[in-house]
Amino acid sequence: MQQTNIEMEDIHWLMDILQHIDVGLVVLDKKYQIQLWNGFMESHSGISPQKAKDQCLFNLFPEIPEEWFRRKSDPVFQLGSRTFTVWQQRPYLFHFGNYRPITGQAEHMYQNTTIIPLQSINKEVSHICLIVYDVTDVAVNQSIALLK
Amino acid sequence: MNLNVLICDDSSFARKQMARSIPSDWPITLHYAEDGEQGVEAIRAGKGDVVFLDLTMPNLDGYGVLEAIRREDLPAMVIVVSGDIQPDAQERVKKLGAMAFIKKPIDAEKARTVLIQYGILTEV
């Protein structure tokens, strides 16, 4: 019984971490419908998890070019290998404002993303997880360095 | 009379791994070749009734060995054991007369399954 309690506690911790980690986490199914939407995504988009749930990513965020994103995520579904995008390819996937609206120099948040496969019990990749990193500082600093 | 089995691979680790995967209850005489040229020679000398053949090797690669076997009409049952798992590679070796294809890394289970499937080994 005690074992079960610890496990339940673990799950609570994991949920808390998922909610508060300063990285965007989105789980998508094969139809690109949102299955998980963490606190970072909610805060920056203003869209609640309840509203995001089961919505197609491309409908909810028309700024994401569907063909481009499918090219990056198809290999994850089909080959089970993770893929990466960097801000040099596209400054951002989600059009979020700068995390520092007063002192920040960029208009918007620059993002790197990683797409990882999530296997179901039968080893098939049924879902993917999109991880969104805020790399605004890196991007701004590199752009300034290039100008010099 | 024991069956002569030849392991043809340029990597000593791969030869060892292959030898370990061969069923221990199979009464055979085991021979080794370290590249394709040695492999063809061994087959000519009657040491390769059954051949476990790698594809990427120096001097003469596995495709070259298969061509030589066909050209000289050598009596060898070839099982290709390769890391090149592209469907194209499997098709090519089958066309060149290989009997079966096993994906590396090899293990005892894979070896036994193929040997039984092609009737080389009878299950006890």
Partner: protein, 204 residues
């Protein structure tokens, strides 16, 4: 290239080569499925090189040609390394048509092509090695080292913190197509010691 017998002996080197052979086959299979063409597999080159040799290794890989390159760090069970992928710039035209990219072949599209192929090749190769050694590797975000530059320019800006490294070179080409890239896997000296322990376990 200097081979340091102290760090890796011949049996270990042979074992590394075979592990990479299997891993790069899996990576080639992934690339082949992505582009729909047959990937020609070479024999991988495993060597111990020191700092100055890296220049040579990369020069051998791409002498006097304009290249674009991306690198990615990976780490698992305390074993750290970097993957470097160098594409001959003449490869992109063929890649664009294989991957059915529409539009003008400019730097931006080349960057997409570089990232798409790098993601697939590097991940599959690293995972392939990891599976055989029972190491789960994490991958960092890829970093673009440069587009349309000479190998020297890529290396000149790098720091020289390390002395010796285990280098694995894989030269991928597509059959009958002008697509040519080199994948270099580099492990730090500390990591080689830990890797050797796992290799010795396999050799026993």
């Amino acid at each position: 290239m200097k081979v340091n017998a102290c760090l890796v002996n011949e049996d270990q080197r042979d074992c590394y080569q075979e592990l990479v052979n299997v891993a790069m086959g899996q990576a080639a299979d992934h690339l082949a499925r992505l582009v729909g063409a047959y990937v020609v597999l070479p024999i991988p080159k495993v060597s111990l090189i020191d700092n100055s040799d890296l220049n040579m290794a990369m020069h051998d890989a791409k002498r006097d040609t304009s290249v674009s390159a991306v690198c990615q760090g990976f780490i698992g069970s305390g074993i750290a390394g970097e993957a470097l992928l160098l594409f001959k710039d003449t490869s992109f035209a063929s890649l664009a048509s294989l991957l059915k990219y529409q539009g003008p072949l400019n730097r931006q599209m080349e960057l997409e092509l570089l990232m798409d192929t790098a993601s697939v090749l590097i991940a599959a190769c690293i995972n392939g090695i990891g599976e055989q050694l029972e190491i789960r590797f994490n991958q960092g975000t890829p970093v673009i080292l440069g587009q349309h530059c000479m190998v020297d320019d890529i290396l000149n800006s790098r720091q020289d913190k390390w002395q010796k490294t285990l280098a694995i070179e894989i030269h991928y080409t597509l059959e009958q197509l002008d697509v040519d890239c080199d994948l270099l896997l580099l492990f730090s000296e500390e990591s080689v010691k830990k890797l050797n322990q796992r290799i010795d376990f396999l050799l026993d």
